[in-house]
Amino acid sequence: MSRDIQNDVEAASRAADQMAVCLAREVGDGEFVFHGVNSPLPMVAIFLAKKLHAPRCTLISVAGAVDPEPERLPFSTNDPRLCAGAAALFSNPDAYDLFARGGFDLMFLGGAQIDKAGRVNMSYIGDPAAPKVRLPGGGGGSVIMPQAGRTVIWRTVHDTRTFVPKVDFVTQTGNLSRVVTPLAVLCMKEDGIELESVHAGSTAEEVAERTGFSLDLSGDIPETLPPADEELAALEELDPEGVRYSEFPVLRAAKREVSI
């Protein structure tokens, strides 16, 4: 492995750990939280929160169970092994109904494009009638986001293609609380998304440069609380296979290289 790639791998690993910890801190004890398909970081974060500060939070996952106790965390977040150890299954229609009647405090959603107003695109790049890219779609997002107590968006790249002045298509919006990226934590204020804290290794200026809409840097932007030793230890115990790293292309590539 070259020195450059090794640096990238180390940076991405640190970012993944920082993001997992930031997402976990969003989960309050006793809260109801859901994660959907293709959500490794939120899945790891929720189990981390349950292990640390939120043992009484209730997790319902797209895999269809209430508070599962899987022996190990799978890479697919709707792997049936995510129902192991649950006392009750809970179908997806049932879970969406629970959102609709206001039963969830917190939801983690992805976003291919995000704009200052907190609108999220998971559907199309370009004109939906003749799209440049057909994205996967928002899953349950367009109904969930206006219904969840609060929504946290996570995105493993922080660049001006993601953070845009105006999304090409509004898949979902509403109740946005925070956005967590490899560089920073952003939060939703009255006038739109602002910078809340910057992870160690980056700066407010770098974040602003890699964000396609303006951020108010006039105040004092603190450093994100780095992962505590206890958090890192719990993370390693919970996720020894590195499911949290699977969202980072450079880490997937590195893993393949190592295993070869």
């Binding site: 398909v37 179908s91 229609p93 109904v143 898949t171 979902q172």
Partner: protein, 273 residues
């Protein structure tokens, strides 16, 4: 006796029909059935699914699809986008009817409940309703405007289950996702099943029968019928096989090879009907 061969069951589906596919992402999807539809060169299908992956993508790759109504079509991080679906939509060959998973559920509920449309909470601020022409109605009590999702009434629900008898009574282990709802919303059901069981086995716990026989038109014995996806508790996703498919999907020749390679497993000798 509704037990038929895979080929016979797939021939029930006509070009242009609407099919709801059971399971979710790479879990308990009717993969064997979907491959047979591709081998039989079915065309112009309208596919319905909340969250799809291999099943939808393969039929798009095979040129079998006119329309997809779904909330999410994609492989997860390990594999990336559903390239054949994406290509189909971007080229205009496949019409993507933009839904949320919950609006697919609402449309299926409308069909199951005999209603022209079903209200659904949420979707405020989203561009999805305008794009898909979801209309609002005024609630006659509160005056609130609520999105109404038009009925989705598939010609077939095609569901892969762990246990079915020869008459079509079916039991699902693990998450049911939208399968039970699809069985009620569709005009009829085709089952593929890991095991063909005696009816007496189901009679021991009739509470666990998710789909009663009268809804079902055909049953296919399909061991490993969800592969390369998973089927709880029998087998996990075969990640290498999924990766191999994704390479095959970009090229018609390699797709034919993929379908041929799976044909022997799909036409399981036990599945004689």
């Amino acid at each position: 006796m509704k037990l038929v061969t895979l080929a016979e069951a797939a021939r029930l589906v006509e070009d242009g029909q609407m099919i709801a596919l059971g399971g979710n992402s790479l879990t308990r999807t009717p993969a064997t059935f979907v491959r047979e539809l591709a081998r039989q060169k079915r065309r112009d299908l309208c596919l319905v699914k909340t969250a799809g992956a291999y099943d939808i993508d393969l039929l798009c790759a095979a040129g079998a699809v006119a329309e997809v109504r779904s909330g999410y079509i994609g492989f997860e991080n390990m594999f990336g986008l559903a390239q054949a679906y994406r290509r189909g939509v971007e080229s205009g060959d496949v019409r993507a009817v933009e839904h949320a998973c919950y609006s697919v559920i609402a449309g299926l509920r409308a069909a199951a409940y005999g209603l022209p449309s079903q209200p659904v909470a949420g979707m405020n601020g989203s561009d999805v309703p305008a794009l898909t022409d979801f209309r609002q109605a005024e609630d006659p009590y509160t005056g609130e405007r609520v999105y109404m999702i038009p009925q989705i009434r598939p010609d077939w629900a095609v569901l892969h289950v762990q246990h079915a008898d020869a008459e079509g009574n079916a039991r699902i282990d693990g998450g049911v996702f939208e399968d039970v709802l699809m069985s009620r919303a569709a005009k009829s059901v085709i089952l593929t099943s890991e095991r063909i069981v005696e009816t007496d086995f189901l009679k021991e716990k009739p509470e666990r029968t998710n789909i009663p026989a009268f809804m079902v038109r055909a049953v296919v014995h399909a061991p490993c019928g969800a592969a390369p996806g998973s089927c709880h508790p029998l087998y996990d996703t075969d990640e290498e096989a999924v990766a191999a498919y994704l390479k095959a999907a970009v090229d018609p020749e390699r797709l034919r090879a993929h379908l041929a390679e799976w044909a022997e497993r799909d036409h399981h000798p036990a599945a004689k009907g």
